[in-house]
């Protein structure tokens, strides 16, 4: 069977989204989709080297740079979900129930309680850094102290953070699907600044002749189509919708 390679990130794979939607795509088009889930930077880099037909990540600036540099044909919004701040029930920084992520981070920095950051330039990490900037906190200065950069994927960072009783910024999908929550729970959510947009980019076939531009096109079109969007919307875990399609059409 014909197949395409999708370079994506762990959050989308770990949540189980692909397992939910891809069979539908394959059923309708007969095209197999092979997903390589790695760090955002690595995914972009791999795609730039032509080792992928489609790029499906959540780091808008990087994605637009990717397109403007001619590696990708175009970028389209596909769906969004949101980030949440999870933490221990004891909630030493007392941020529980809040909806202001920036204030929460400020409080955490104030209380100097452990915060586990991915520290891997991923979309999630970039979003986190943005929030620190708004909070006017130089977290880097505390690196190794209360601010712990795990330099790992979302799942590994959650494992570590939970092990350290730390606060962690994570995307909701990964969190809901995560199996090692222990007592940690969502403490801060609903802040519009926690918005997490996913985009899709067909890789430019002119740069890399091996890229299956046509098949990639089929997939991108499907994802952006009502079918694809519906498939995304229908993916639920713990009776919650994890991703919210928002392709413009």
């Amino acid at each position: 069977t014909p197949f395409i390679l999708v370079q994506s990130t762990t959050s989308t794979q770990n949540s189980g989204l692909f397992d939910h939607i891809l069979p539908r795509f394959t059923a309708t088009t007969g095209i197999e989709v092979r997903v390589v889930a790695v760090g955002t930077g690595q995914a972009i880099r791999n795609a730039a080297k032509g080792d992928g037909d489609v790029l499906f990540v959540h780091a808008k600036e990087a994605e637009e740079a990717f397109v403007s540099e001619g590696y990708g044909l175009f970028r389209e919004d596909v769906m969004y979900n949101d980030f949440v701040i999870v933490g221990p029930p004891s909630d030493p920084a007392g941020v529980g129930g809040g909806t202001d992520a920036v204030a929460a981070l400020a409080a955490i920095a104030e209380a100097q309680v452990i915060f586990a950051s991915r520290g891997d330039d991923s979309g999630t990490h970039k979003a986190e850094l943005g929030l620190w900037r708004e909070a006017g906190v130089d977290a880097q200065a505390a690196s190794g102290g209360w601010y712990r950069e795990t330099g790992s994927g979302m799942g590994a960072t959650l494992n570590t953070g939970i092990g350290m009783n730390a606060y962690v910024l994570t995307d909701r999908a990964t969190w809901i699907a995560f199996g090692n929550k222990q007592d940690h729970r969502i403490l801060v959510e609903g802040d519009p600044r926690l918005f997490n947009q996913y985009g899709i980019i067909p890789v430019n076939g002119e740069r890399h002749p091996n890229v299956k531009a046509d098949l990639a096109g089929v997939f991108v079109r499907w994802i952006l189509s009502d079918d694809g969007q519906a498939a995304i919307a229908s993916f639920r875990l713990d009776d919650q919708q994890l991703f919210f399609p928002n392709a413009r059409n």
């Binding site: 794979q13 092979r34 997903v35 032509g50 080792d51 799942g155 699907a177 199996g179 091996n210």
Partner: protein, 235 residues
Amino acid sequence: MQGFEGVLAQAFGLIAGWDADLVEIVGLSLRVTLVAVLVSCAIGLPLGAAVGAFRFPGRAAISVVLNALMGLPPVVVGLGVYLMLSASGPLGPLALLYTPSAMIIAQTVIVTPIVAALTRQTVEDLDGEYREVFASLGIGPLRRIGALLWDGRFSLITAALAGFGRAIAEVGAVIIVGGNINHVTRVMTTSIALETSKGNLELALALGIILLGIAVVVNALVMSLRASALTVAYA
């Protein structure tokens, strides 16, 4: 977090359940590892024997390098092989990236130095005993290597098994060049890594225990063959 017995139970559950996906993954793990180990032995045994048996300028340096290459970081090997096989790399046209072949290549790069370095030592010891006889009989280099490998075979099996152990447990390199693609390049170790990142620690541990069980079975087979060979052969 359920206790260890819970994990064990889950492991046996998985085995008993004879999940098709699990079988597929185990099969691929074995296939990739065994091929990689065979290739590594085909290269590492004669290479190690040559370094162990012959005296030539730079021999000491080569021994050091062989030993040092036992410390090749998997991720680095993965990157190197990736850059070779990448569409924009020299071997791109072969389209091997994200296939089992790529994983075999990466593992071979990691395992060969291990087999070679351990063989070097074993053969060096054996050669210390044989070299005068060989010199006196005036046998050529090829026959000499052959005789040393043959007479040392029972000890050399351990070198091969060390290579097998490294390969079957390897994850860093194969996940980069294989991509851990479901039903295509997903093996035991990459599954374990995936489940760990999903926070399914018990499942990951259970898979690990199964993997270890496989290693035990393979080693038991090899060692029993060795034993039965030893009884008829010449200590």
